[in-house]
């Protein structure tokens, strides 16, 4: 792990979670629908990951989810699954991901979150992992296989470091469950648009409205919606319904089919009004 001297947050300095909330609030004043993108670190290699971050920030992406690859990405569909496997086959390590995070959060002025599976934290030691996260400038994390019932150590470490744990709302979650998840979340909540894994199509229709209303009622945090968002039409649909649109698999698909250079035009297209 990184050996940067551990940062003790002064009480006067806003915590990373507070900074995240403030950034999102300020950006939302300028823009009705924010765009969060998701990339798999080290896929196809760290140089390309850096180029993608650079181009996304330039093209107006508002925040990014950086996935630390894991060998068993249970909640991910074929595109992200293979990106995980190939990043690992190319030798990506947690340590490299931390260094990458340190670099991009120093260089680019948008919030970065980690997305990964619990074993990545557990193998390092949850407390140490979270401390390093804070040191490298990551503001929050999404751990899809860690429900709050199992997340005691994680949640208290995140709290100590002032980081934002982001939980996942789903269409099958009961109103009580949504409130429970919201209580344990900070920064934003991630609403999945449908059942299933990442990377499959979603038919965006007003059927979503009742679910999104339930999400709204459960929290004051900004709502991010992901799973299947991939076009300007999807963005237009989501504008006014949620605060943040999440684009994951589609960017990877664009990169695979048309190269890293094509990502910029794709993002510009999404953000076009």
């Amino acid at each position: 792990m990184l050996t940067t001297a551990s940062t003790t947050l002064e009480t006067t300095m806003p915590s990373p979670a507070e900074q995240l909330r403030e950034t999102l609030r300020a950006r939302r004043e300028q823009k009705e629908l924010l765009l969060m993108t998701h990339i798999v670190l080290g896929y196809p290699n760290f140089d390309d990951s850096l180029c993608v971050v650079e181009s996304m920030v330039k093209d107006g992406v508002d925040l990014m989810e950086l996935q630390i690859p894991f060998s068993e990405p249970m909640a991910d569909g074929p595109v992200i699954l293979r990106a995980n496997a190939q990043a690992l086959a190319a030798g990506a390590t947690t340590e490299q991901c931390m260094r990458f995070a340190e670099r991009v959060s120093a260089e680019f002025d948008i919030p970065f979150l980690f997305m990964t599976y619990y074993n990545i934290l557990f193998a390092t030691g949850v407390e140490q992992f979270v401390r390093t996260m804070a040191e490298v400038g990551i503001q929050g994390a999404i751990i899809p296989d860690l429900p709050p019932e199992e997340g005691g150590e994680y949640l208290s470490a995140m709290k100590t470091q002032g980081l934002a744990p982001v939980h996942i709302f789903t269409p099958s979650s009961s109103p009580e469950r949504l409130r429970e998840l919201a209580q344990h979340s900070d920064g934003l909540v991630y609403c999945v648009a449908r059942k299933g894994v990442t990377g499959k199509d979603t038919a965006f229709s007003s059927d979503l409205d009742a679910y999104l209303a339930r999400c709204r009622e459960s929290t004051d945090l900004p709502l991010a919606l992901g799973f299947g968002v991939k076009s300007k039409e999807d963005m237009d649909f989501l504008r006014g319904r949620v605060d943040i649109a999440v684009v994951g698999s589609e960017t990877i698909r664009v990169m695979e089919q048309r190269g890293v250079g094509a990502v910029s035009a794709f993002i510009e297209g999404l953000n076009a009004r």
Partner: protein
């Protein structure tokens, strides 16, 4: 859920949020079935009329004389319909699926035994069925794939990751998070998120219940030691659970030693010291992983034992010293199997033969008044290709060559007729 599903530090339910209601429903159905004496009665009736329960214990007289030590008894799970203990778990989960009102089942399979058992159950209960199987396993267990497809199951070869059991489990979960409303995931071993480990052990405990009673009736005493192979741990927990309260009975789990020690060469999570505690596939246990927590490749001659994790219940027994864990290497396994076939006319699956290896190592130094019990979890019909290769049987090879020639000729003549009509 009402319970957390921990066995000291092992177990739990690390599930994606979308499955929370599904797990609540499953836990409720499981606890209800467990509380309902009628359920167990229906289960025993089903198993005694559709499968071969109670399976007998067999005294292996020739092996006993050969080793000249402890008396060797064998619990015959190979006599279950579909040839392995997997049927116990599957039929029980079939009854639970029906109670939940679901119409489709999915399952992962390694050796294919659990897949065949699930396909059988689906055919009998009238469920739709999809089986996920690592592409490597599809290639080495074609006979089981053949039967699954005959029974109407769709078999999906999983190419991702190491293309073995763990990858099939991931893929089954991906199906489940999409189709949970009408689909039950019939997990095949005592692993995965709570309530699976506990529920599977409960259904498999029928082995141990019978075995304990049979030992008392037939032999007049409990065995000194009980041996079972350990993949995920369901047959081991099944037989062990009959003797957990009998402190004088030593429980011995035998894992896949493969080519011997060293990461990548085996699948011994407890017997060797390459595994570390981690969380994957929804639960906490010992996993064969690297320092970053990435799962590593495993190896075993038997497709059913090469899993990266192990039942949290066994991990706990291991930690508490309530069971002992050993490993048997590929070569030892084939040798023990050949000896058992030759001496007793029994055909233990390569998985089961791991248990025989350890029993054979220990029997000679035990007293002739001592009794040991081996769980023969399955029979080796499915392993005929692997075993024939290991034994390097020239007549088998010639048979396959001839068969291939026959198919090729038939193919050519079809092609030719095709051309004629073109």
């Amino acid at each position: 859920m009402q319970h957390s599903g921990y066995f000291n530090q092992f177990g739990g339910a690390f599930i994606p949020e979308i499955l929370v209601p599904t797990f609540n429903q499953l836990e409720a159905a499981y606890l209800q079935a467990k509380d309902d004496p009628q359920f167990w009665q229906d289960y025993e009736t089903l198993m005694s009329t559709y499968s071969c329960r109670a399976t007998p214990i067999t005294f292996a007289q020739n092996l006993t004389e050969h080793f000249g030590g402890a008396q060797i008894y064998i619990k015959r799970e190979d006599l279950n319909h579909t040839g392995a203990h997997k049927a116990n778990n599957v039929m029980g989960q079939g009854l639970i699926t029906r109670r939940m009102g679901k119409r489709r089942v999915i399952a992962e399979t390694g050796a294919g035994q659990h897949g065949v058992a699930t396909a059988t159950m689906a055919a009998k209960f009238g469920f739709d069925c999809t089986i996920y199987m690592g592409a490597v396993d599809v290639a080495r267990q074609r006979p089981n794939v053949f039967w699954m497809e005959q029974m109407g199951a769709e078999v999906i070869a999983v190419e991702d990751g190491s293309a073995t059991l763990k990858d099939a489990i991931n893929e089954a979960f991906r199906d489940w998070v999409t189709n949970m409303d009408d689909t039950h995931y019939v997990l095949g071993t005592a692993c995965g998120p709570y309530p699976f480990p506990e529920m599977v052990c409960w259904l498999q405990s029928i082995i141990g219940k019978e075995a304990r009673q049979q030992m008392l009736e037939r032999v007049g005493k409990l065995p000194e030691r009980v041996y079972a192979c350990v993949g995920g741990g369901s047959n081991a927990m099944g037989i062990f659970s009959g003797f957990l309260d009998d402190k004088e009975v030593e429980l011995v789990g035998v894992e896949a030693g493969g080519r011997g020690r060293g990461m990548g060469h085996h699948a011994a999570r407890l017997a060797y010291d390459d595994a570390k505690i981690g969380v994957a596939q929804g639960y906490k246990t010992y996993f064969l992983q690297n320092g970053d927590g990435q799962m590593q490749d495993t190896h075993s001659v038997s497709a059913g034992l090469d899993y990266v994790g192990v039942s949290p219940i066994l991990a706990d027994l291991h930690e508490r010293g309530a069971a002992r864990f050993e490993a048997a290497t590929d070569d030892e396994v084939v040798e023990a199997m050949r000896l058992t076939v030759r001496k007793e006319g029994l055909i233990p699956a390569l998985e089961s033969s791991h248990a025989f290896v350890q029993a054979f190592k220990e029997a000679p130094s035990m007293a002739s008044t001592d009794v040991i019990l081996i769980n023969q979890s399955g029979r080796a019909d499915k392993d005929i290709f692997t075993v024939a290769d290991a034994i390097d049987d020239p007549k088998w090879k010639q048979f396959i060559i001839n068969k291939a020639e026959e198919y090729r000729r038939a193919d050519n003549s079809i092609d030719n007729t095709g051309d004629d009509h073109a």
